[in-house]
């Protein structure tokens, strides 16, 4: 290979990559503002769904767990605070599970929603199902405990996905506990034990 060949080949590659890069930049410039706006709208809708009766849900602060940034919100009807929404994470089997939790002013869970995760398809991904999420409704901190097998008032583990179940439950607990600490100043050390 002569020096001329090297220059020719290099130019060939440079030109193709430059054109490719420009094309990609063009698509990015066209789509990224739309993606940004749609993400924002979807986030607002997701929050709204957590507490449909609230007139507005405002961000009040940030917090952090598993070195991840999360936010929490106050839900208001008129001037009255009717509850809180908190974003939280649980450490699952193969991912950090991103969860939204809404609670009323007594810190009883109203609803949870799994926003993002990468748990095992077919096993861990059952945390997205309605029956699983419904289990959390009406639970306080003490009842957010995972039970293997049938349970009336606690959280029933998904068959084959106990780790994912526990991750969601602990994530919800952490979020609720954080809110309680912030708003009532009580720390909930007593109920920190997690049942196997």
């Amino acid at each position: 290979m002569t020096g001329k060949d090297i220059i020719k080949i290099t130019l060939n590659l440079v030109i193709i990559y430059a054109v490719g890069g420009l094309l990609l930049a063009g698509v990015y410039a066209k789509t990224s503002p739309i993606i940004f706006i749609k993400n924002k709208i979807e986030k607002e809708q997701a929050l709204k769904k957590m507490m449909p009766e609230a007139e507005k849900i405002d961000k009040v602060g940030d917090w952090e767990l598993w070195h991840k940034h999360a936010e929490y919100f106050e839900a208001k009807k008129g001037d009255e605070v009717i509850g809180y929404v908190v974003e939280t994470y649980g450490k699952g089997y193969s991912s950090y599970i991103n969860i939204l939790v809404s609670v009323d002013t007594n810190f009883i869970v109203k609803k949870i929603n799994v926003l993002h995760h990468a748990e095992t398809p077919g096993l861990g991904d059952e945390i997205e199902t309605e029956w699983f999420k419904k289990q959390f409704e009406g639970k306080d901190l003490e009842h957010l405990v995972v039970i293997k097998g049938e349970t009336e008032d606690k959280i029933q583990a998904i068959t084959g996905a106990t780790i994912s179940t526990r991750a969601v439950t602990n994530g919800v607990r952490d979020g609720v506990a954080m809110l309680m600490k912030k708003y009532t100043g009580e720390s909930e050390e007593d109920s920190e034990e997690v049942a196997e």
Partner: protein, 212 residues
């Protein structure tokens, strides 16, 4: 080129579906064949995403084949593949949100699929645009077919459902959902297709291209 036996477009599609089926015959891109085939829906969506990207990559490679210096063809193919994946990803994220929520994850995974690069190198780089397009469609359909068959059995046996609808109330064979079950499913189906080939076609359709 060889004008004596002309290969029809239909032959190219059939070749992708059976003769040189990515999973069952060539045994490449086995990673997605195991990783995303835990439900029929996943398998189908992954297959659809590959079908689109493979076809577009084949067309682009074929169009550019005379401008690419052979010494740098692989990095250029990689650019074409990742370019198409990025364009599809961004366009869907902006304009097809619902579909993107379902398929977004799979589209990004395609960048690393050996099957796409293999087809660009083995076929599109040496053939005209129209045959390359049909080769892409055939290979994509073949990949989709393989994933649909694998995921059908894994979901049915592992979860007792098909496309999320309950068939039996229990989970008959939970192991089928785990990677272990994926290897079993791919292996058994591959053996089955080999058996058909030997039994009915005398082993001629094997393509002889294994081990890539």
């Amino acid at each position: 080129m060889n004008h004596e036996h002309k290969i029809s477009n239909w032959d190219l599609i059939k070749n992708g579906l059976f003769g040189e089926n990515t999973i069952f015959r060539m045994a490449i891109s086995l990673c997605p064949a195991i990783a995303v085939t835990t439900s029929l829906k996943n398998g189908f969506l992954m297959g659809a995403a590959v079908l689109f990207v493979q076809t577009m990559v084949n067309i682009t490679v074929s169009l550019l084949r005379n401008f690419i210096n052979p010494r740098i063809r692989i990095p250029v193919f990689m650019l074409i593949i990742s370019g198409w994946v990025s364009v599809t990803d961004m366009t869907m994220a902006a304009f097809a949100r619902e579909a993107y929520r379902q398929m977004g994850l799979y589209i990004q995974l395609i960048v690393a699929f050996a099957s796409i690069l293999a087809r660009a190198e083995m076929f599109a780089n040496k053939n005209k645009v129209v045959p390359s397009m049909f080769d892409g469609i055939g290979m994509g359909l073949g990949f989709m077919f393989a994933l649909v068959v694998i995921s059908f059995f894994r979901e049915l046996l592992g979860r007792g459902t098909i496309w999320g609808y309950e068939i039996v109330a229990t989970k008959p064979l939970l192991i089928m959902l785990l990677p272990t079950g994926g290897f079993f499913a791919v292996g058994i189906l591959m053996a089955f297709f080999n058996w058909i080939d030997i039994r009915f076609y005398g082993g001629k359709g094997a393509g002889g291209a294994g081990g890539h």
